[in-house]
């Protein structure tokens, strides 16, 4: 469990009582809080929460969301921050200390953090790609490229839209299905390399450099969101978007799927079970008030989600209005040209009158025109989450705003900061346990070890730079980024409540902060939170089992192109999915069985001292 000295300390790993140790520490509490907030606040707050809010009837969704926050999110957060601060180790060391049988929980956390780091940074690579392309006039996703003989536009682009074409073809160069691998795309590799170099430079000196980096990465997104808010509110159609978002649909509260989604959203949004929060709080002084920290981090995270959805939806409302206007204008043009009516005689306001008049006089010609149905609600309903929101929907909105380059740059820098501060936690959940496990050879300086870990992650992420990369990323996101966390969090709660004992835990907290956790926390830890997690976990499994695993593929040869083709996963791919969901969790039973088979009293593992826990 060697403590790792910071700069200037060359792998000085003492064995327990022999020599003094130095654990890195935060320069100030603000740094620590900003790091935790930055870790919790990620891209999901911007592109997942608003989407959920929209499909579950706006204001009504806030109810299960806040309930889940209070009864599930905050207790877990408090728990992780407290044990990290008390035991002053990374996730593996901490769980080994709490109970040797639970050492596997730490290992699982580390494995899962590693896998998430690998794919999460690929998202940042894509964000960088868009950022690099935001310095052009006009923006490359605003128009279709011309074909070779300059007679028209590229067919794939004409059939879909320029933003779709830029995302699927010029960025991803996506293959038509997951089995077709395609080749490695150098441009994405270049962006991926840049992303990992930026992560490395922030990690070079551990929390010393992270602590400085978070002053920017954790605060800049708020600045950009505010700028967007002010700008978005002045755009036409913004209020339509906001009304649509926040109008509560109370009847949806009866839908259990809504409660499930709210619980999972809170859970994944707070980034518990990564081990990163444990690592961050392990650098705290012992008497830090972790209860207040947990409440602050949890509430700021949720407040950020709600705050972010306002400009997002204002802009989406603006985009829907623009699309609606374009739709009406194309209809007007069709009518004007067909009936040779004076230019600009038909306007948006008198369109309906003209239409009824023309339909009465000459219905045959009107029906031949194949006019589109233009309905603002339909455009508002076109929601998207995840990469679809950022790289398709939002980029389309940005090109309609005057000064698009500025907004594009701001938006992608904001996404990058959000993702980078989350990467700090992801990677910290890998590095700290490895240091604590003494897996770093003594001769290797910390910087070199960090570089090696970044290199390994980068090489693994090359999978996502292939033609089928996006499909694989979705798989990682769905299977790694869901079930294992629920299991780990469940075992964390079980570990503290049953193996360690809530009373003892409360005593430790009292020793640290000077006051016992009150009844609310105890009730949550012992009853409500594990129960909620168990229900969420079971419901999640049930839902996953019932749906056949499919994925939307972008296939230009598809009959209904530009709609995505829904394809089932081939068997071997599905086997990989199952592996991804289960292998990270396997250390939990394995380590437990291993420890049972080899009784601890016969040997003293270097990681902990069991007599410290007076039974």
């Amino acid at each position: 469990m060697g403590e790792q000295g910071l700069t200037g300390r060359d792998g000085d790993k003492p064995e327990r009582a022999s020599s003094t140790e130095e654990r890195p520490k935060w320069d100030s509490k603000a740094q620590y809080l900003l790091t935790c907030i930055g870790f919790a606040v990620g891209v999901g707050n911007v592109w997942r929460f608003p989407y959920l809010c929209q499909i579950y009837g706006g204001g009504a969704f806030l109810i299960p969301y806040l309930i889940a926050l209070v009864f599930e999110g905050l207790p877990l957060l408090y728990l992780e921050l407290a044990i990290g601060q008390r035991l002053r180790l990374g996730s593996i060391g901490v769980w080994n200390s709490i109970s040797p049988y639970l050492g596997g929980v730490g290992v699982s956390s580390m494995v899962v953090s590693f896998l998430v780091s690998v794919f999460y940074n690929t998202l940042l690579a894509w964000v960088l790609w868009y950022f690099f392309h935001s310095f052009q006039d006009p923006l490359p996703w605003s128009q279709c490229p011309v074909n070779e003989n300059l007679t028209g536009y590229v067919e794939e682009c004409v059939k879909s839209t320029p933003v779709n074409y830029f995302w699927y073809r010029e960025t991803l160069n996506i293959s038509p299905n997951i089995e077709t691998n395609g080749s490695l795309h150098w441009w994405i590799i270049v962006c991926l390399g840049t992303a990992w170099l930026i992560v490395y430079i922030c990690f070079i000196r551990g929390i010393e450099t992270i602590g400085k980096a978070v002053y920017f990465t954790a605060t800049f997104p708020y600045l950009v969101l505010t700028i967007f808010l002010i700008r978005a509110l002045s755009l036409p159609g913004a209020t339509d978007g906001l009304i649509y978002l926040f109008t509560p649909k109370w009847e949806l509260l009866k839908n259990p799927q809504m409660w499930l989604d709210a619980s999972t959203q809170i859970f994944f949004s707070l980034s518990v079970a990564f081990g990163g929060l444990i690592a961050f709080s392990s650098y705290n002084p012992l008497d830090n008030d972790c209860e207040v920290d947990a409440v602050i981090v949890g509430c700021v995270n949720s407040a950020t989600s709600i705050y972010a959805s306002i400009p997002i939806f204002a802009i989406l409302g603006f985009k829907a209005t623009s699309n609606y206007n374009s739709c009406v204008e194309s209809n007007i043009l069709a009518l004007t040209n067909a009936f040779d009516i004076g230019d600009s005689n038909i306007t948006h306001t008198n369109y309906d009158d003209w239409f009824t008049h023309l339909n009465k006089t000459d219905p045959v010609s009107v029906s031949q025109l194949d006019l589109k149905e233009c309905d603002l609600q339909t455009f508002l309903d076109q929601s998207a989450s995840g990469t679809g929101l950022a790289f398709i929907v939002f980029t389309e909105a940005v090109i309609k705003m005057p000064g698009s380059q500025v907004w594009s740059v701001l938006f992608f820098v904001m996404l990058f900061s959000l993702g980078l501060s989350s990467m700090f936690g992801n990677l910290e959940g890998v590095l700290t346990p490895l240091h604590d496990l003494n897996m770093v050879p003594k001769w290797m300086p910390r910087e070199l070890f960090t570089a090696l870990v970044c290199l390994v992650c980068f090489l693994m992420a090359l999978i996502f730079t292939m033609g089928s990369g996006n499909y694989w990323l979705e798989i990682f996101n769905t299977y790694v980024g869901s079930v294992p966390f629920l299991v780990i969090a469940l075992f964390e709660l079980i570990g503290i409540v049953f193996f360690y004992g809530t009373e003892r835990f409360c005593k430790e907290i009292e020793f640290m902060t000077g006051r016992r956790p009150n009844l609310f926390w105890k009730v949550c830890w012992m009853g409500i939170s594990p129960l909620m997690l168990l229900v969420v976990f079971l419901a999640y499994i049930v839902v996953q089992v019932q749906t056949t695993p499919t994925y939307p593929a972008w296939n230009p040869d598809y009959v209904n192109f530009p709609r995505t083709e829904v394809q089932p996963y081939p068997d071997w791919v599905f086997a990989i999915c199952v592996l991804l969901a289960t292998v990270p969790v396997l250390p939990i039973p394995f380590v437990a069985l291993y420890r049972l088979a080899r009784p601890i009293t016969t040997r003293q593992p270097a990681n902990h001292n069991t007599t410290a826990f007076s039974e």
Partner: protein
């Protein structure tokens, strides 16, 4: 409108070229002046039509590299309030004969930009139905702009990494030299701290006092 039509058809009628019947050699033109220019839109009248005929004559002259074409060779008919109309081009030697569509198309394409600019319009607002607009060739700069931005970013990051690594290396060298001296002092103070009732012994960051300040309780 009707007298206009008659007036226009009169000279060609004399030469027995009927614009209305010569559709296969003619092109329909559509202008969307109000949509394109908004408040600054001009009214479409006889003079504007004259300008149009003149620009087409100019285009024919330019393409065929002769000075034969006159405004009278451009025949317009079927005007609508849209504003749209048909036109054909008659041969200067024989006003009864229409110039083939192909040649007219090439002539218009060659001078499209000049024709558009004469009317302050674009390819979209001054449409020649059937003549595809020549799309501007994409500007392909030698270095794509994104590579430039990438170069700047990666240069800064690499420079930062190298700088930080060098600084760490230098610090470590200095730290090694100074390490021997305060070690005995630390061990003594370390055991003191272990007596303060913490059940976790030395595992909890007992600070190396040579490097840390000792007000860890006032840190907050």
């Amino acid at each position: 409108m009707f007298p206009l039509l008659l007036l226009l058809c009169l000279p060609p009628a004399l030469a027995a070229v009927d614009c209305v019947n010569e559709y296969r050699n003619g092109y329909q033109v559509r202008l969307s002046i109000k949509t394109a220019l908004g408040d600054q839109a001009y009214d479409w009248n006889e003079s504007e039509l004259f300008l149009f005929r003149a620009t087409i004559a100019f285009a024919m002259r330019k393409f065929t590299k002769t000075e034969a074409y006159e405004v009278s060779n451009i025949v317009v008919c079927n005007q609508t309030p849209r504003v749209s109309f048909w036109f054909i081009v008659t041969s200067p030697e024989n006003p009864a004969q229409a110039i083939s569509k192909n040649i007219v198309e090439q002539a218009v394409r060659e001078s499209r930009n000049r024709i558009n600019n004469a009317f302050l319009l674009t390819d979209k607002s001054l449409e020649f139905l059937g003549i595809p607009p020549t799309l501007a060739a994409p500007i392909n700069p030698d270095t794509p702009p994104w590579l430039i931005v990438f170069g700047v970013v990666i240069g800064a990051v690499c420079a930062g990494i190298v700088a930080l690594l060098i600084m760490s290396f230098v610090k470590r060298r200095r730290g090694k030299k100074a390490k021997e001296v305060p070690e005995e002092e630390d061990q003594a103070k370390g055991t003191d701290k272990a007596v303060t009732g913490e059940t976790f012994e030395d595992r909890n960051g007992v600070y190396n006092l040579g490097f840390a300040d000792d007000d860890r309780f006032t840190q907050l």
